[in-house]
């Protein structure tokens, strides 16, 4: 039963056009199933428990058209600036979700476009693609999958260590009218492999567009991935993202998710610890000002015994900004000896900023260690006094402590150019001088 509503008219129109194109059988099949599911689910409303603090009305009322690969207009000139910080190592650039060969630097073997992998190794892709980020329940995954065409693909072979970080840069360039892109990434780390992946989302400031992105990461036995996501969309943009992680025995995964841009942002970071001995770290920082809304949802499924997870999410909210944090930890009946720790800290810098924070622990095993804590507050007066007693003025002391609160996450980033760049952004956001010839925190 297909319920056609006005708010997805443009999506249906664009889908119909996409259906006319030649495509690999796998994609055609996935798209069809996903589009059917999306039209059944529809956009979530506030009545949906998972969306009760985040109204999608600003998003659903905009008639977004599917963005093409074209790079036209004055915005093209900002490309270099948008790609800053990703000059070294392998890089995949997706413009409006389309692989941009001229901007990407890949070895074509382990790192490349999803379309190429689909052409050359369709069976391998089929084993993984859309197997983890299900579209059955989550409408935005369904919508992304319905428009699957290309994306980024990383396959790290067994035992291989890739020393240099791999950059995935998602650029949105609109041609004037509001457009939507559905970027997709599939990252598979075979047993014993190691890699660092940095995902950056960028777009020219002031542009109105919608990024609906899905990244699936699979870690084989004893594999390790350090993942970073830097979301610096236009402050007029909509950003809805799913990061779906699946971990095998003794795998180690860490993610740092830094959310700076966007007018309405929803991040889902979900991890399934599906075998014994896994270690998963999900950290995040959201900075929001004016009328920005940032909603972070995390979910960690401890499916098997002897796994640990650590989670630290921080929000800095100013102006009329709104923040949401929902952290779910499910400890399944088999997951004895689970060690899970979740912390959520919010700094409210104005009287009009609002945070809704909700830890959600569901524990079905009896021999586990699970802790969670949420704090919401203003800057610590004792720390302010400490800085002032060293000659630092009251306003600067507040700025410095706000920077410090946020930088606590950024300084954990091991990729130096990304860390330095974000520190500069944080310092500038607080009106503080940058550290010449080095980083604020070495």
């Amino acid at each position: 039963m297909i319920d056609v509503r006005e708010e997805y008219d443009t999506y249906l129109t664009d889908y119909a056009t996409l259906e006319q194109e030649d495509a690999p059988a796998l994609l055609t099949r996935l798209r069809k199933a996903a589009m059917d599911r999306f039209t059944e689910l529809g956009f979530p409303t506030l009545r949906n428990e998972e969306w009760r603090f985040t109204s999608l009305a600003p998003l659903t009322k905009v008639p977004f058209r599917l963005a093409g690969p074209e790079r036209q207009g004055p915005r093209v000139r900002s490309l270099d600036r948008l790609l800053a910080g990703t000059e070294h190592g392998q890089r995949i650039v997706l413009v409006n979700g389309h692989f941009a060969a001229d901007l990407s630097r890949t070895d074509g073997i382990h790192v490349g476009s999803l379309a190429t992998f689909l052409k050359e190794r369709p069976e391998w892709v089929e084993q993984h693609l859309a197997r983890y980020a299900g579209y059955d329940k989550y409408p935005f995954n369904a919508l992304n999958t319905a428009f699957l065409r290309d994306g980024a693909c990383i396959h790290i072979p067994q035992g291989k260590t890739l020393d240099e970080p791999i950059h995935l840069v998602y650029v949105s360039l609109t041609a004037g009218e509001p457009t939507v892109s559905h970027p997709r990434a599939l990252i598979v780390a075979e047993p014993g492999s190691r890699a660092t992946v940095v995902e950056s989302y960028v777009g020219p400031e002031g542009d109105v567009y919608f990024t609906n992105t899905v990244t699936e990461i699979v870690l084989g036995e004893d594999a390790g991935i350090d993942h970073y996501k830097v979301q610096r969309e236009s402050t007029e943009a909509f950003h809805i993202a799913t990061l779906q992680i699946h971990m095998q025995r003794a795998a180690r995964f860490s993610s740092h998710l830094v959310s700076l841009g966007g007018s309405l942002v929803r991040n889902e970071a979900n991890s399934v610890l599906d075998a014994e001995g896994c270690e998963c770290t999900l950290n995040g920082l959201a900075m929001a000002n004016d009328r920005q809304l940032v909603d972070n949802h995390t979910r960690i499924d401890h499916a098997k015994a002897h796994c640990s997870s650590h989670e630290l999410y921080k929000q800095v909210l100013n102006g009329h900004a709104r923040g949401v944090f929902n952290g779910k930890i499910f400890v399944h009946a088999d997951a004895q000896k689970t060690d899970a720790k979740q912390t959520n800290q919010t700094l409210l810098l104005s009287n009009d900023a609002v945070i809704d924070t909700k830890p959600q622990l569901e524990i079905f095993a009896d021999d586990v260690k699970c802790t969670h804590g949420a704090t919401v507050g203003q800057l610590d007066e004792t720390a302010i006094f400490y800085l002032r007693s060293r000659g630092i003025g009251s306003d600067e002391a507040r700025s410095l402590l706000t920077f410090a609160f946020a930088n606590d996450i950024v300084e954990r980033i091991k990729v130096r150019p990304i860390r330095a760049q974000l520190e500069e952004v944080l310092l500038a956001s607080q009106g503080l001088p940058r550290e010449e010839g080095g980083e604020a925190v070495a």
């Binding site: 720390a383 400490y386 060293r390 630092i392 410090a404």
Partner: protein, 259 residues
């Protein structure tokens, strides 16, 4: 340098200081000793400008200027430095960045040019040698994850960098083992000069073996009950505070929180 007249102060509506008089000349080291709850940390906090403490009577002159009229940053810029009993941890800001912001704020106030990154690093290395502080600590976030001894040494290092005219050491010796105590005292001694004065606030006589005072004041129940030379500290160690009118309170003494 520093003159305190008849200082009375309250914390949470409770009278803590009940008429303190003190004169510290340039180059002098004064020790203020007293039992728990006598008002030692309150005096330190009042000097540094902590808002927690309400001055109800009296005056403080610092180089002839009205100290109570200045906010904490102004006092620091004028040359007062408080080494905290419990230095604050600030994860997310490196010692280097913090110190440069601090030093440049003070230099600006004094009409000196701000130091650029190179000049600052040079000074940092010089002072690190004087205080024998591990330079890698300076790249780390302010006091975060430091041991008790490292925190105290970092306070003295900040003092060396900021070159105050008057340093107030609030129980800098508490929680230090004998080696750490010697290192911290050596650091302070290295900074002693004819122009720089030091007020050492302490519970124990121990630190005064290394940091020899010109004058010793015994603070009991918010008043100086006796003042004298360095030998007074030894007398105090021998006889205890009871000889000086201190009555041990029944139950637990609650300390005002001065981090």
């Amino acid at each position: 340098m520093l003159t305190i007249f008849n200082l009375h102060a309250k914390v949470d509506g409770k009278d803590i200081l009940k008429g303190i008089n003190l004169k510290v000349n340039p180059g002098e080291v004064h020790a203020i000793m007293g039992p728990n709850g006598s008002g030692k940390s309150t005096l330190a906090g009042v000097l540094a400008g902590r808002e927690l403490y309400e001055v109800t009577e009296g005056d403080i002159l610092f180089e002839g200027k009205d100290l109570l009229d200045m906010d904490p940053e102004k006092r620091a810029r004028e040359g007062i430095f408080l080494a905290f009993q419990h230095p604050v941890e600030i994860p997310g800001v490196s010692n280097k960045y913090f110190l440069r912001a601090s030093l440049n704020a003070i230099r600006k106030h004094r009409g000196q040019p701000e130091l650029d990154a190179m000049e600052f690093l040079k000074l940092l290395k010089e002072k690190a040698k004087v205080i024998h502080i591990d330079p890698t600590l300076l790249d780390r976030p302010v006091n975060a994850g430091f041991s008790g001894g490292e925190k105290k040494r970092n306070e003295i290092f900040q003092m060396a960098m900021l070159e105050p005219k008057l340093a107030v050491l609030d129980e800098t010796d508490s929680g230090l083992d004998i080696d750490a105590l010697r290192i911290v005292s050596d650091g302070v001694n290295a900074l002693r000069s004819k122009e720089r004065s030091v007020v050492v606030i302490t519970h124990h006589q121990r630190i005064l073996n290394y940091l020899v005072p010109d004058k010793v004041h015994v603070l009991v129940n918010g008043r100086f009950v006796k003042s004298g030379g360095k030998e007074l500290a030894l007398e105090l160690e021998e006889k205890g505070y009871k000889e000086f009118g201190y009555v041990e309170p029944k139950g637990k003494v609650t300390q005002p929180v001065l981090s």
